[in-house]
């Protein structure tokens, strides 16, 4: 059966629910006629954006995380990112795209099973041909674009349990988590009319809930279930090469333009504005973290400024389609300062070992951005959405955020416990001591004599 790819389903229009039924949709509706026509400009941009988002995971995130672990575990982090990229691609082809984006059985404002998970009519990408369109771009490009989001989300989680998880357990966790947590979540937010959170009116332009809160919460649950690294927090575990981390963060910043501006699924004004507000929020967050750290610890750090930039990128993700430049500035600065405190103070106070701060950065900035996306979409606050009732949209956003937190907490916990009881999540003490590179992969990152 052919996928009904009319303009009203898709990320550009998330949020045409209760609140923003008509006006927000105007630009996309203008392009999306009952018989959509391919636009080569849109297609060229989406081809490019897709490559940029892939660049975020390999090598962007891989290096960002890889630099922060100890030298004996560098390869394990790179391996996990690379393996997730390959595995998610295959699962996406087999059933992932169908469960996330099939619109079978969906109807606006009707809540049924297909409001939560997509049908199986697109299994093995059934019905996909070179001339099949999604809005104004080839559906093949849209499949690829969305695939890169499905890749980075489980890859983000690995930072929470870095340096201690078995590789086999990592593969099972990533596959099951993609299937049971990510795919339904993407469907509930992005599959258009009839989707659970889409119908609720939750604004999430590029994946604040689906990607960042989802992954960040899973990270917190994962580091609690798997336990601390041996010796944490008394044994020093400093980053082994912050230069990798800076290169990785820079690639994330660059690739994020594909993530946010690409989520317009068109080369249009919305994409252009998304790019601008992404840059502004990122810069403000980098400076926010820097300032908070300088004032608190008496000096600015390299790891601090790049962590702040990532917090800003996360926070602006849901807001990129609706916030204005001023809103992005405030949102970014707030995210930088807040994440500084969650990653450096809260974590040590509570004592959990979220090794690379997946929760402290992704979940916290995601929640902040997810909620503030509501008011910042209002023209009165410089936004470009159709929100007039700030409080109402704030509440809708909060509901979306809370739903994501509960969804990810419960399902991630069940998956992790299941794997722990069967396969075991953790390497043994000796393997952890030797390092995962040598003990799991029989390789070393550095053979310097």
């Amino acid at each position: 059966m052919r996928f009904k790819s009319s303009g009203v389903s898709g990320k550009a229009l998330v949020g045409i629910g209760l609140v923003a039924t008509s006006v927000l949709a105007t630009p996309a509706f203008a392009q999306a006629t009952p018989t959509p026509v391919l636009n080569s400009g849109d297609t060229a941009w989406m081809l490019t954006a897709t490559m940029l988002v892939l660049l975020m995971t390999i090598p962007g995130l891989a290096l960002f995380y890889g630099g922060m672990v100890r030298a004996k575990n560098l390869l394990s982090v790179l391996m996990q990112c690379f393996a997730i990229t390959a595995m998610v691609t295959v699962l996406w082809l087999i059933y992932g795209y169908s469960i996330a984006f099939s619109t079978q059985g969906m109807q606006a404002h009707v809540t049924n099973l297909h409001s939560i998970i997509g049908g199986l009519d697109r299994i093995m990408l059934s019905g996909l041909k070179p001339d099949t369109l999604y809005q104004t771009v080839p559906e093949a490009v849209f499949v690829m674009f969305q695939l890169t989001f499905a890749i980075i989300t489980p890859a983000l989680i690995i930072g929470a349990f870095a340096e201690r998880m078995k590789f086999s357990a990592l593969l099972w966790f990533s596959g099951l988590w993609l299937t049971l947590v990510y795919l339904p979540m993407a469907h509930m937010v992005w599959s258009g009319p009839g989707s659970l959170l889409g119908d609720l009116g939750v604004l999430d332009f590029a994946g604040g809930t689906v990607v960042h809160i989802n992954a960040g919460i899973a990270g917190l649950v994962a580091c609690l279930v798997i336990g601390k690294r041996r010796g944490y927090p008394h044994t020093p575990m400093p980053p082994h090469n912050l230069a990798y981390t800076v290169v990785g963060a820079s690639l994330l910043w660059l690739g994020w333009f594909g993530f946010n501006a690409g989520s317009a699924v068109a080369a249009n004004g919305s994409a252009g504005m998304a790019m601008l507000v992404t840059q502004i929020a990122t810069a403000a967050a980098a400076l926010g973290w820097l300032a908070a750290e300088w004032l608190t610890h008496g000096r600015p750090s390299v790891l601090g400024i790049v962590s702040g930039a990532v917090a800003g990128l996360v926070a602006v993700t849901p807001a990129a389609g609706t916030a204005g430049p001023g809103g992005a500035l405030v949102l970014g600065a707030a995210a930088g300062v807040l994440c500084f405190f969650t990653a450096t103070k809260l974590k040590h106070k509570l004592g959990y070992d979220d090794s690379l701060d997946v929760f402290g950065v992704h979940a916290v900035a995601g929640i902040l951005g997810g909620i503030l996306t509501g008011p910042l979409a209002a023209p009165v606050l410089g936004g470009f959405g159709t929100v007039t009732e700030l409080g109402t949209q704030l509440w809708i956003q909060t509901k979306g955020v809370m739903f994501t937190i509960v969804w990810s907490t419960v399902l991630s916990y069940v998956i992790l416990k299941l794997i722990d009881l069967t396969l075991g999540l953790r390497v043994d003490d000796e393997q952890e001591q030797v390092g995962l590179d040598l003990s799991l992969h029989e390789e070393k990152a550095y053979n310097l004599s």
Partner: protein
């Protein structure tokens, strides 16, 4: 003959080598080592995690000298490695019983 073991700050190595060459010392062995004395370590802070680094990187020089060279060698090292700040290092001197150049089988002062 004497055996000089000197612990110095790594960045002073070039100056020390030059000074030793000038007083006629023609060979030495250098090793990268870590340790601490009166200069304790420093702290590093990563996302709020503070680590105290106890052992600081230093260089260990090992030099065999003839008895009459000893004072010159000590002075050369002391001058070149001295910054006046804590952590400049130490010089240890001990007796050296024998020295043999492997290639020629020369012994003692001839082997240095």
């Amino acid at each position: 003959m004497k055996w000089i073991t000197a612990i110095i700050k790594p960045f002073t190595l070039d100056d020390v080598r030059q000074a030793l060459t000038e007083v006629g010392i023609s060979g030495m062995t250098v090793t990268e080592v870590k340790g601490f004395g009166r200069q304790h370590g420093h702290t590093e802070l990563y996302r709020g995690a503070e680590y105290v680094v106890d052992f600081l990187p230093k260089l260990k020089l090992e030099i065999a000298v003839a008895d009459e060279q000893l004072e010159h060698a000590i002075e050369a090292i002391s001058t070149a490695a001295r910054t006046g700040k804590i952590g400049d290092g130490k010089i240890f001197v001990s007796e050296l019983e024998q020295a043999i150049r492997i290639r020629t089988q020369e012994v003692d002062a001839d082997a240095l």
